[in-house]
């Protein structure tokens, strides 16, 4: 059963089909949040909120939507809400992100790249993370961010250039 067919069933009231989608997406979404530098508990919390939203707002899923981009768009909105809630203490948030990343991953190369990535503007961080780590296609990223595919490509190129510069500074 495709994601879209499962979600159409959910939207039509067959809520058991939500379990299929949950089992397919819980791990990618949990890691999506971990890679943004959130602690494990917060990542689980936000992952659960994604599924809460897709079930609760199931009727807003329309025929023709691509489920993967729809769920990632929701996941991204939830992440932005989380950031907004924690912006009153930006310094603490950044310190927590660094600590969380070191706890979650023991790959030094990856941690260094993540450190450099956090120094980039948000729009570059997003496209690089989604493209490289979440393995989303440019078309999907464009759809999630509601921007053109050309702009995604420009951001990938410019973001990568800046990332390399920041990485070299840290090395």
């Amino acid at each position: 059963m495709t994601d879209e067919a499962a979600m159409q069933s959910v939207a039509g009231g067959d809520l058991d089909k939500a379990a299929i989608l949950y089992e397919r997406y819980k791990r990618p979404l949990y890691n999506f949040y971990l890679r943004f530098g959130l602690e494990r508990d917060s990542s689980q919390d936000l992952t659960q909120q994604v599924f809460y939203r897709i079930i609760h707002y199931r009727s807003s899923f329309r025929e023709g939507y691509e489920f993967r981009t729809w769920i990632y768009r929701i996941a991204r909105n939830i992440y932005h809400d989380y950031l907004k809630e924690h912006t009153h203490n930006h310094k603490d948030l950044h310190e927590n992100i660094e600590v969380a990343e070191e706890e979650n991953y023991d790959d030094e190369q990856y941690l260094l790249i993540q450190k450099a990535l956090k120094k980039l503007p948000q729009e570059y961080q997003e496209v690089l993370t989604m493209s490289r780590y979440d393995e989303l296609k440019y078309e999907e990223i464009a759809d999630i961010l509601n921007i053109s595919v050309s702009l995604v490509k420009v951001r990938v190129h410019r973001g990568l250039k800046q990332l390399k510069e920041e990485y070299l500074k840290l090395n």
């Binding site: 791990r27 949990y30 079930i55 809630e85 190369q109 990938v156």
Partner: protein
């Protein structure tokens, strides 16, 4: 070049584009060096080993799913009852029969109530269950985790006759919770108790204070659905405000029209 490079990384270049890229690189040494550098760097950005969420996530999800299934079932039953009621009302014979049954019913209830010892009311299992759910809900609303608080809000759906404590807790959540999803869940729970004036008042009031467009849209939808004409004024204020997003204004405009009919 930016487009070509990005497409190269995804291996999406066609033959013509590949040739175009090769020509560009062949004619510009600095560009070629930059290209090779970035290509190598991109390859180094390997994906870390993915981690598995714990069983707590599964537990939370399946509990939430069961809760939603219960709510969906109740909604269906309510709709079925509503449909049956409509067909009854349209039948003149049944109207008379219903009148007689109601009279007999009133007489019977009167007799039963007179006989009943009201002190035994706490022994009624369903009422006891509701009291337990109320306590559980109020305590869960203090939880640090937003998803736990959402679940707490969802518990309120199981309470058929909410007391003031429940409604006040939902109103407080709607107005003060730091998490937008929890506030949205509280607004929807209050709409469930839309027959209670205190719930409608809170929803009308909150329209003037909530700044999140998604929540504004939710509350506007709820108030239009409840058909409370008092919501027109705050909606007009939203329409006049320069801070209100255009899509919220469009929604408010539609709802003002519906409520003004």
């Amino acid at each position: 070049m930016e487009q070509l490079f990005a497409d190269y990384l995804e291996d999406k270049l066609n033959t013509r584009q590949k040739q175009e890229l090769e020509t560009l690189l062949a004619n510009d040494e600095a560009l070629r060096d930059e290209f090779e550098d970035l290509k190598a760097f991109y390859a180094d950005m390997h994906k870390p080993t993915e981690l598995d969420p714990t069983a707590t996530l599964d537990l939370g999800f399946y509990m939430m799913l069961e809760k939603e299934k219960g709510a969906e079932q109740k909604k269906k039953e309510k709709e079925q009852k509503g449909a049956m009621r409509v067909s009854w009302v349209n039948s003149p014979i049944l109207k008379y029969a219903a009148g007689i049954i109601i009279l007999l019913g009133i007489f019977w209830v009167g007799r039963k109530t007179a006989d009943k010892d009201l002190n035994d009311i706490s022994d009624i299992p369903s009422l006891r269950e509701e009291m337990k759910e109320t306590r559980q809900m109020l305590s869960m609303l203090k939880n640090e985790s937003a998803s736990e608080r959402i679940q707490a809000v969802n518990y309120s759906y199981d309470i058929s006759k909410p007391d003031d404590k429940v409604l006040e807790a939902l109103i407080k959540t709607l107005n003060t919770d730091t998490n937008i999803n929890v506030r949205t869940a509280a607004a929807e729970a209050l709409s469930h108790f839309g027959s209670e004036k205190i719930a409608r008042d809170a929803l009308i009031q909150t329209l003037l204070t909530q700044k999140e467009p998604t929540l504004q849209i939710t509350v506007i939808d709820i108030l239009a659905g409840l058909g409370d004409k008092r919501a027109v004024k705050p909606m007009q204020k939203l329409l006049q405000s320069t801070d209100t997003e255009d899509f919220v204004k469009r929604k408010a405009m539609e709802s003002v029209k519906v409520l003004s009919l």
